[in-house]
Amino acid sequence: MSLKKKKVEGEGNGPRRPKTTAAQIRLQKDLGDMDKLPGTMHLSFPDANDVFNFELTIRPDEGFYFGGTFRFTFRVNSNYPHEPPKVLCTQKIYHPNIDLDGNVCLNILREDWKPVLNINSILVGLQYLFLEPNADDPLNKDAAEVLRSNRRLFEQNVTRSMRGGSVDGVTFADVMR
């Protein structure tokens, strides 16, 4: 049978049978190559063996959010990189693109995700949200409205919220510690 002939001809580059999934390999590559993270970002792993679940800390070194420490959880599923990781902010913060439940409006986390993007692309995107909050894609509509109409007031609101103060009756997490 030709099927058998094909088999003999089909000598590849050697045997391989990892139980490691394609998602794991890709994630290992994404993470293992991230040795040049800027000092403003830190990744931590509750379980070093579980690379699918980790936490990100961002400390912006300029902009409205300078001085704060912002924490996110990343959950990557076995369909990565076909599907993007799920990213949530674990603190209640005052930000036009992050709602009070921690959902993040970042295009590459949803509609513009592509398998060529990687974990690093998301970190860059999140960092950018703190440098340039975007009033055009609001998740926190009130914050976006203030940013659009009165930058001074927005700045004051951010500063107050970051110290654990309240804005419009909502108390925010103290991110200055």
Partner: protein, 428 residues
């Protein structure tokens, strides 16, 4: 016309497969190179085991097509039970079968209808089965409904290949449909592009910008996404949304309808809610029939060599007339599944992880600079991020026998390498 021994016992075998035998009994100018007509090829067709993965829309068609094409030892695997909404196209099922296992009902239907064909069902997940199970088949043919399941099948079958055992090379024929569109393709592990090679070609599930669903809904889908993505986790932080639970869908429908009314949007219905949550694309029965026919035909050609199999991807678009185009998808050199370099390494069990890394760094053929090493379950040594590097650094001085089992696979990645390396570590 000589009858192959397997089917001699069947009274009408020569008539049942008369037309098939016309192709197999004599050589001709259009046969594929190396085709040998006669009893042996018929015997081979009737005796090989073929696995149908999925017994849904494509699976029903595939089982019928294969059984009528002369495959007589067919296995079928499916984890689903029959739902009333399947009955319009999954024609092996009747209303009285609702709730029963698809694989089992489909198998008994075909066996009742086509004597002489043996179908062995397995009601369960593809992940339940190991290499030993998949290794018994000559051809694997898939009628799956998700990218995830296809990636798993693809990686499993490709990783099974062992150059010392040619029997481990299994052609995969993969069919897929989405409404009026479909595709069929042949994957010959390590010879053609695999599923992972072309992963970035897959359309991803429809999603809407978070800020649109949160603030400026215009479509009924926006309202449903708002209910499922934002409201559900707020209301039930610890309960996972289950698209198959009518209670869950009803809750979403309620919330979404209220929001739709507020924004003057119409069209939020129960079935749309379930469709958005489960990302359902309405199935077209004839698309399944066309794609399955292509897959079964390719299986027949591969099994008998009576004609040249397609090379290697057929797309079908049926929404404006009929358009198909067959082309060769290229193998991706840095594919994480079929592009991975595999090497075997012999070390003393008392060697340390650092010794193993030094051994890898010394090899001129792979040119590593900063390798990160993991097994499927543990991080052995990661160069980055810093927290992982610090957590895994103590492993460097540990004996390999403390960290891995004899013969375990270790995945190596390196920023200077676009591909990954799979090493099998054997202890001396």
């Amino acid at each position: 016309m000589a009858l192959p021994t397997v089917t001699q016992s069947l009274p009408d075998a020569d008539r049942r497969w008369r037309d098939i035998y016309r192709y197999l009994d004599r050589p001709g100018p259009f046969m594929a190179e190396g085709f040998e007509a006669g009893a042996a090829v018929k015997e081979f067709l009737h005796s090989i085991k073929i696995l149908v993965v999925g017994a849904g829309g494509l699976g029903c068609e595939l089982l019928k097509d294969l059984a009528l094409t002369g495959f007589t030892d067919i296995h079928v695997i499916d984890m689903d039970t029959i739902d009333v909404s399947n009955l319009n196209r999954q024609f092996l099922f009747r209303a009285s079968d609702v709730g029963k296992a698809k694989a089992e009902v489909a198998a008994s239907f075909i066996m009742r209808r086509i004597p002489g064909v043996k179908i062995t069902p397995y009601f369960g997940k593809i992940q339940d089965k190991d290499e030993e199970y998949y290794n018994q088949f000559t051809i694997i043919i898939c009628g799956l409904d998700s990218v995830e399941a296809r990636r798993w099948m693809n990686a499993t079958i490709i990783n099974m290949y062992d150059e010392d055992d040619p029997e481990t090379l299994k052609p995969i024929i993969d069919g897929g449909t989405e409404g009026f569109k479909g595709q069929s393709r042949i994957i010959l592990p390590h010879m053609t592009a695999c599923y992972e090679c072309s992963l970035d070609m897959q359309t991803k599930p429809t999603t809407y910008p978070m800020c649109t669903i949160a603030n400026t809904p215009r479509l009924p889908e926006h309202c449903i996404e708002w209910a499922s993505v934002l409201e559900w986790p707020r209301e039930f932080p610890d309960k996972k949304l289950d698209g198959d639970d009518p209670e869950h869908i009803k809750w979403l429908l309620d919330r979404a309808s209220t929001r739709a009314r507020h924004y003057d949007i119409t069209g939020v219905t129960y079935s749309l809610t379930q469709g958005v949550v489960k990302n359902i694309i309405p199935a077209i029965a004839s698309t399944n029939a066309i794609v399955a026919a292509s897959c079964a035909t390719e299986a027949f050609k591969i099994a008998t060599n009576c004609a040249t199999p397609m090379n290697n991807y057929m797309m079908y678009v049926g929404d404006q007339g009929v358009y198909t185009y067959t082309f060769e998808l290229q193998k991706k050199e840095d594919c994480p599944v079929c592009g991975a370099v595999a090497i075997k390494i012999q070390v003393s069990p008392s060697a340390t992880l650092q010794d193993l890394i030094d051994l890898l760094l010394d090899r001129k053929d792979i040119q590593l600079k900063k390798p990160s090493l993991r097994t499927s379950a543990t991080s052995l040594y990661m160069q980055a991020p810093r927290a992982l590097q610090e957590a895994t650094r103590p492993n460097l001085s540990k004996c390999l026998s403390e960290l891995i089992r004899d013969g375990e696979e270790v995945t190596v990645t390196d920023e200077s390498l676009p591909i990954s390396i799979q090493i099998t570590v054997r202890f001396e």
